[in-house]
Amino acid sequence: MSDVSFDVSEGEIVGLIGPNGAGKSTMFNLISGFFPVNSGKITYAGKEITGLKAHAVARLGIGRAFQAPTLFMNLSVFENVFNGFHLRYQKSFWKSFFHTKGALEEEKRARSSVMEILEFMGLAQLKSVQARNLPHGHQKVLGVCAAMAIKPSLLLLDEPLSGMHPEEAATMGEIINNIRASGVTIILVEHNVGAVMRLCNRIVVLTQGRKIAEGMPREIAENEEVIEAYLGADDEEEFD
């Protein structure tokens, strides 16, 4: 990736689109600390986060849902979200070790917050189902739930709609809107350009590791260079 620069303001949903191999997921891996950054800067809330490790990035409030459902597959839906509460505990290691009253109460509060998240996302009924037994659409929602567990202020969603049938996609779209409405900023990588157009305030277009356009959905849809980039790419990429 080179010469890519864009800003995201608080409360926005910014779409990151581009043909396969454009570097969208790479961008996410750079932001969330999985890939090393060779040059350039990433700042978040006024702080430079370039080169931070993934757990440190999470600590700052940047959550991430992966493209392929990345879950604790042999744990239940509830535990998948519960395990995401790691950063929220205030009580010390020793208090948690000795199961003091305070630590137990904290855990109890965490458990009810897990249920709140599951209800918010519509997975409450499935709380004791093993993650591996969920249908694909639900697994993707659960991935977002887990990311929400860290109480992010910025959420990176990597193709949340991929592999979903239209109904599931509509539900996911609604969920994304709800999350934004609750005050979370979102960066969205998505192949389904129609959905990106509907959901996002602003869109950044990448091809081959470069930014070729940035603007409102309408501007992007009319941008010559963008259309060309998409037509020149594999035929599975298209506007709809």
């Binding site: 990345t70 042999n74 950063l87 948690s96």
Partner: protein, 317 residues
């Protein structure tokens, strides 16, 4: 359990019971690391470190066993911190091999050091000094001591597993990438597990030194660590507490009762390990589940581990 010494009169069987308890502690220390997805081959080495530290503190520094016991745990902690700071950075096969290297080096270091007793080992290690009316003569007092140590060990580990630390460990084992995205510092939690596990092994070693009252480098070679691995695998890797207990009991009693010679023991244990991995990767405790007839409440996996997992050895699940 407290009445066992009054029932079992034979010192030979009491010895096996005591050894079983000591081995269970080692098995627990192995399965603690496994709970975070690390397979260690250094359990035996840290057991040796604990044993030698304790023996030397008593014999050369003249300390009481009751002070040497926690100090030997501390010594294991320090060595685990030093080595773990390097080796827990790269999990998987690299960690396995590096712990293997530790368990190859430690006996050599001891063997070539005159101060540490050399290849001849240490003889005449004094037993624990009496506490009140309890004098350490015969098997029974040692049995009570080892049971107390084992209970403390089990309690501490159970507390860890049910706390947020245990959840973080489990998250790392099940999906390290996701765990990191959720803010878990993989390195710190792996190092913590390595240190705690080594401390437990060190305490088990300290007890052994003063129980058996003789040590030599051959006692904690890589074979010891392989044996420990078998305790955990034979019982069932998914049963963090009961698994090592069952495995250690079987592996302590069966070879003895079959009167297997010391020379061919490694052959037997090797064969057991291979057969286990092929035919019973879930361990003995997975048998009821496998037979599909019933599953015993006690033997169920830690509740928060969810439904029975497909046993998967050496390949993460």
């Amino acid at each position: 359990m407290a009445l066992l010494p009054t029932v079992v009169k034979s010192p030979y069987y009491m010895h096996l019971v005591i050894m079983t308890c000591d081995n269970i502690m080692l098995g627990l220390s192995f399965s603690l690391l496994y709970s975070t997805g690390l397979l260690t081959m250094a359990a035996g080495a840290f057991w040796g470190i604990g044993a030698y530290t304790s023996a030397l503190l008593v014999m050369k520094a003249g300390l009481s066993f009751w002070i040497a016991l926690p100090l030997s745990g501390m010594c294991s902690v320090l060595i685990a911190l030093g080595t773990g700071a390097v080796i827990t950075r790269i999990p998987g096969i690299a960690f396995l091999i590096q712990t293997m290297v530790i368990s190859l080096i430690i006996p050599e270091v001891v063997g070539y050091s005159e101060f540490l007793g050399g290849w001849g080992g240490l003889l005449g290690i004094p037993g624990p000094s009496p506490i009140g009316p309890l004098r350490f003569v015969g098997k029974a007092p040692y049995y009570y001591l080892v049971v107390v140590l084992l209970m403390l060990n089990v309690l501490a580990f159970a507390a860890l597993y049910s706390s947020r630390v245990g959840r973080a460990w489990r998250s790392i084992r099940v999906n390290a990438q996701l765990a990191e995205t959720l803010g878990i510092n993989l390195y710190r939690f792996r190092l913590l597990a390595f240190v705690i596990s080594s401390a437990a092994a060190g305490l088990a070693g300290s007890f052994y030194a003063h129980y058996f009252q003789a040590l030599e480098p051959g006692m904690f070679t890589a074979f010891k660590s392989i044996n420990v691995q078998i305790f955990a695998i034979l019982g069932g890797l998914n049963y963090y507490v009961v698994g090592p207990a069952v495995g250690a009991a079987i592996m302590t009693f069966v070879p003895e009762l079959l009167r297997v010679g010391k020379e061919i023991e490694p052959v037997i244990t090797g064969a057991v390990l291979i057969l286990l991995v092929i035919f019973l990767p879930g361990g003995v405790l997975s048998l009821p589940e496998r037979l599909g007839s019933f599953s015993w409440g006690l033997m169920r996996r830690t509740k928060s581990d969810g439904a029975p997992a497909k046993p998967g050895l050496y390949k993460g699940d």
